[in-house]
């Protein structure tokens, strides 16, 4: 499907989804979704025969200081189309439903976001540190206001 077809098709499925005006540098369409609506939307993206986004190739997070944004990059290896989904999260208590039941690969990606940004993934099967060594629980080193006077030199 082309980006325009995706836009109209997804709007029919989920009228609450807001699309960015601009197509990003990779030529991908960006869809903004409420964090509470994400799980239902993700299931539709995965299972609808005309969409079939069967590959979550990137899940990461952005700290905007006022809020966090979860960013999911999806691809369909069947229909050869891509979609970026963004969900705004509350910075003081970031929570979103896990999609590891839909895309198995999300399990590790979400663990990484959890250790670096402190996003809590609800119903995640095994939410603990992935790469950071023991003792880093809850430190969230990729947040903009993270301070580490021993290891970090501020510019």
């Amino acid at each position: 499907m082309t980006n325009e077809e995706l836009k109209t098709g997804i709007t029919e499925l989920q009228p609450s989804v807001v699309f960015d005006e601009a197509i990003d540098a990779n030529g991908w369409l960006t869809a903004n979704v409420e964090s509470t609506a994400w799980l239902g939307f993700a299931e539709q993206l995965r299972n609808r025969p005309e969409l079939q986004f069967n590959f979550l190739f990137c899940a990461t997070c952005v700290d905007w200081k006022t809020h966090l944004t979860m960013v999911y990059h999806l691809r369909s290896t069947i229909h050869k189309h891509e979609l970026v989904v963004k969900a705004k999260l509350d910075r003081t208590n970031p929570e979103i439903e896990t999609v590891s039941g839909i895309w198995r690969g999300a399990e590790f990606l979400e663990r990484e976001v959890f250790e670096l940004f402190g996003v809590k993934f609800l119903n995640h099967p095994d939410l603990r540190l992935l790469i950071l060594p023991d003792g880093w629980e809850g430190k969230k080193p990729l947040l903009k206001d993270f301070e580490d006077p021993i290891n970090m030199i501020r510019l």
Binding site: I131, P133, F146, N151, M152, I153, R154
Partner: protein, 180 residues
């Protein structure tokens, strides 16, 4: 520098012509240093993009085996020189220390690229990068660049050879002091 280094790159010793042949006079230490410096086995160790340049240096185009570095070892117990090719993060630091400790004496260290020298592009605002591999293990030769070109790495390898031949590596100086 060149005036000092020029003589030691030849075989160390003097040839005295005698009827029917000749005698070479030399010091055993110098001969050992000469032999060691011409067969340095590097450890297969690379932590980031400098490793790509190191592979290129090992490959056919630049070919560091011309200078005696061809036997890259996958175990530190058989390696003479460790080329720190890349960023050392806090989590990697104990591994690097262990690898260095497992290497047999005499052992040499080359810090390749900005990250291994000082943390380089990761000096500021990062929680995970060691600000220079010499915080973890002692370094003999530093080679600048991000990443250094293969020619620069070759130059650092030859510099290390000259350092060994001159008896001026950190280890050789320490051993000399202990002997006295």
């Amino acid at each position: 520098m060149t005036t000092q280094q020029q003589p030691v790159s030849d075989f160390p010793g003097e040839i005295h012509d005698t009827p029917g042949g000749g005698i070479v006079l030399s010091k055993l230490d110098d001969v050992i240093n000469w032999a060691r410096s011409n067969s340095l086995w590097p450890l297969t160790f690379a932590t980031s993009c400098c490793g790509i340049e190191m592979m290129s240096t090992a490959g056919a185009k630049y070919d560091f085996s011309r200078f005696g570095f061809e036997v890259a070892r996958a175990t530190p117990r058989q390696a003479d020189v460790i080329i720190i090719a890349g960023t050392i993060v806090n989590k990697m630091a104990p591994v690097l220390k262990r690898l260095y400790d497992q290497m047999a004496d005499p052992k040499y260290v080359i810090a390749m690229g900005a990250c291994a020298i000082s943390g380089g592009p990761f000096f500021y605002n990062t929680y995970s990068v060691v600000k220079g591999a010499d915080h973890v293990i002692p370094v003999d030769v530093y080679v600048a660049g991000c990443p250094p070109r293969p020619e620069a790495l070759l130059h650092s390898l030859i510099t290390l050879q000259q350092k060994i031949k001159s008896g001026l590596t950190r280890e050789q100086i320490r051993e000399g002091k202990e002997a006295i």
